[in-house]
């Protein structure tokens, strides 16, 4: 189907079903129950899951296929966000022109940075991209404030021209982003018993684009171009002596993945029209590296899993505080309750970084192939010996 083989079609369908049903899947616990804290099915976080999924999918096209480790990819995300917000400020609140512009601008940005950085490989390439991104961040935060609004981030105001739209709504507020009139923030709610499920227009737009991006990534992975990119990673010497020029291949991959990042940035701005300079900081670039490796670099689904994993932690674990802990363990005798809360306390709330750091280490130590490898191991446990044989002769990278 769609030019994919059976395995890939199945994968795409599974991902499609999961994303479309995310409002159900991510809200497994009834409202008001102790575990409702772990629900992630609210619009903002779901949007972040798919947007960072897109970002990571794009990053993986560069890193997973060619092996070039960019430490400055967040710059493209930031540039995409700025372009989109400028589009909202100047043109209209429709998200389509904003998203298109963000991809174009970040693509151009990627051409320039890629052209220079790809003259070097290995860690030298990483440092070059890092240097470009840090320069962008530092300048955006300070000297370029007229364009980026610096520390605060670029925001919409009531004075923006918006030539194809309106500067302010009738009741005097800033208009909201929309897709031909469908407001990105509008949410349908469904109540089932004690559960509340939220279906957000913005999320479904992002999800649709993510599926498209994912589909495109599968096609790239399976295409001759994708094979060439893997050849770049494998042996550039042989490539050159086979009459192939690695440079345009890597540059193309770099630009494609830069445009994916720009798309993610544009979508972020479309869901929440603000572009902050921190989006370009090296820690943000490092985050997408972590997502990709954590999920499984070079695999199709890995980066999406990694993105979900990290964003879930950032948004759910950071919000657990001692009060919540006490309410969970209130069934225990007082002394024991306090004891357990004391033990768990360093790992939640303000300690969520600690938990994340430990998990990184555990995953890298025990699952070199990332979460995907974890999944495969579990699957192998269930399927037994049969898979062990087939995995040896598989022709395509794991999904």
């Amino acid at each position: 189907m769609l030019g994919l083989n059976k395995k890939d079609t199945t994968l795409l369908l599974v991902v499609a079903i999961l994303t479309l049903c995310a409002p159900f899947i991510l809200n497994p616990f009834p409202e008001g129950s102790a575990l409702a804290q772990f629900n992630a099915g609210y619009p903002d976080l779901m949007q972040r899951f798919v947007i960072f999924g897109i970002f990571a999918i794009g990053f993986n096209i560069l890193f997973g296929l060619t092996g070039y480790l960019s430490f400055g990819h967040a710059a493209f995300l930031g540039v995409g966000s700025y372009s989109a917000v400028w589009m909202f400020k100047l043109l209209s609140m429709n998200v389509i022109p904003a998203i298109i512009l963000s991809m174009i601008v970040s693509g151009l940005f990627a051409v320039v940075i890629g052209f220079v950085s790809l003259r070097r490989s290995g860690i030298y390439f990483s440092i070059l991209t890092l240097a470009f991104a840090q320069m962008s961040f530092n300048l955006a935060y300070s000297v370029l404030t007229p364009i980026t609004n610096g520390e605060t981030g670029l925001q919409l105001t009531l004075n923006d021209p918006r030539i194809l739209g309106m500067s302010a709504t009738a009741d005097g507020s800033i208009p909201v982003t929309s897709l031909f009139g469908l407001e990105m923030r509008s949410t349908y709610q469904m109540e089932v018993g004690a559960w509340l499920f939220q279906f957000n227009a913005g999320y479904y737009l992002c999800a649709a684009i993510m599926l498209l991006a994912f589909y495109l990534a599968i096609r790239i992975f399976r295409s001759p171009f994708g094979m060439m990119l893997r050849a770049v990673k494998s042996n550039q010497q042989r490539m050159r002596y086979t009459g192939l020029n690695p440079r345009p291949y890597t540059l193309a991959a770099f630009v494609i993945s830069g445009m994916y990042a720009g798309l993610a940035g544009g979508l972020m701005a479309s869901m929440d029209p603000l572009a902050g300079a921190e989006r370009m900081q090296w820690t943000a670039s490092g985050e997408v590296v972590l997502m990709t490796i954590l999920g499984g670099a070079g695999t199709l689904i890995g980066p999406v899993l990694g993105a979900g994993f990290i964003k879930y932690f950032e948004n759910i674990f950071s919000k657990i505080n001692d009060n919540v802990l006490h309410s969970w363990f209130s069934f225990l005798p007082d002394g024991l309750e306090d004891f357990i809360v004391t033990i768990v306390h360093p790992f939640i709330g303000k300690g969520w970084h600690l938990t994340l750091g430990i998990l990184f280490m555990l995953v890298v130590i025990f699952l070199p192939g990332g979460l995907v490898e974890g999944g495969q191991r579990i699957a192998r446990l269930f399927r037994g010996k049969k898979t062990a044989n087939t995995s040896k002769t598989k022709t395509e990278p794991a999904e």
Binding site: L69, R120, G122, N138, L139, H353, L354, L359, M361, V364
Partner: protein
Amino acid sequence: MDAIILQILNGLDKGSAYALIALGLTLIFGTLGVVNFAHGALFMIGSFCAVTLSKILNLSYEVVDPTKKDFLGNPLKVKMPYVESWFGTDMGAAIIDWSVPLAILFSIPVMICIGFIMERGLIKHFYKRPHADQILVTFGLAIVLQEIIKYFYGANPIPTPAPAVFKGSFDFGVILGFDPNTIIYPYWRLVYFGFAALIIGAVFAFLQFTTFGMVVRAGMADRETVGLLGINIDKRFTIMFGLAAAVAGLAGVMYAPINSPNYHMGMDFLVLSFVVVVVGGMGSLPGAVAAGFLLGVLESFASMNQIKSLIPGIDQIIIYLVAIIILLTRPRGLMGRKGVMED
């Protein structure tokens, strides 16, 4: 002229911190082939060795002073350090005053232990793994280490002053024939510069003149061959890691009075020190030191008003700009070898 001399001084001082951190990073990379993102955390732990020692020396019992009130209006409990009661007030105060230099002695065993534990417990399992995995696991470790420090010491910086003798600054201008107060430089920073030079010299001498060092240098040049000679590289690598950790730690201890230590200072230095190492050339010790000083001096020049008015924001980007220019003109940094970290 005087402004230039002043900025060169500044640059050398900044550079000595960069050089020390980059030196340790390169030692680890050159010998073990491991990209250690936790190196900044080692620097930070070094600083916190100074903090810890000063806290230990300041361990106190409380004496109630009824003439003063605390913030709730109760009689004030004045803290009396045990050190002062054991050694007498003057001697005790002097010991507390000298806590940072004393922390050098304290930090060396601590840092070497931490280095050994890190290498044996974690890093050793990653020699054969891809660099990306090494980066991820050491990055995770860096987060864990800094969060542990934050848990115990809080997020705010903790003042750790140098001994009172080193307060104030030295007037170079007078020696060089300028007016007083044109070129002044704090004593402690001069101490730091001298200390850094000493450590760098000691590391180089160690590698140059001891058999251990020779083997390590040979190992940096060609790991396989040295391994084939039947020399136990593993043990030496562990020792090298301990040494690199100690160098980072010492850089941190002495840095504590310059900027009050906080738990994320390692991350602040991490990116910078990587840039330094790469600009110097991966795996080259002299390259790392040279690049450290070079970037320190250039950074200082970029912060001069005259230059800032020519190119606005240059001090924001100078380090990265220099890195880009050097990497484009010299493919492997200043003194890098071919084929290192290029795949």
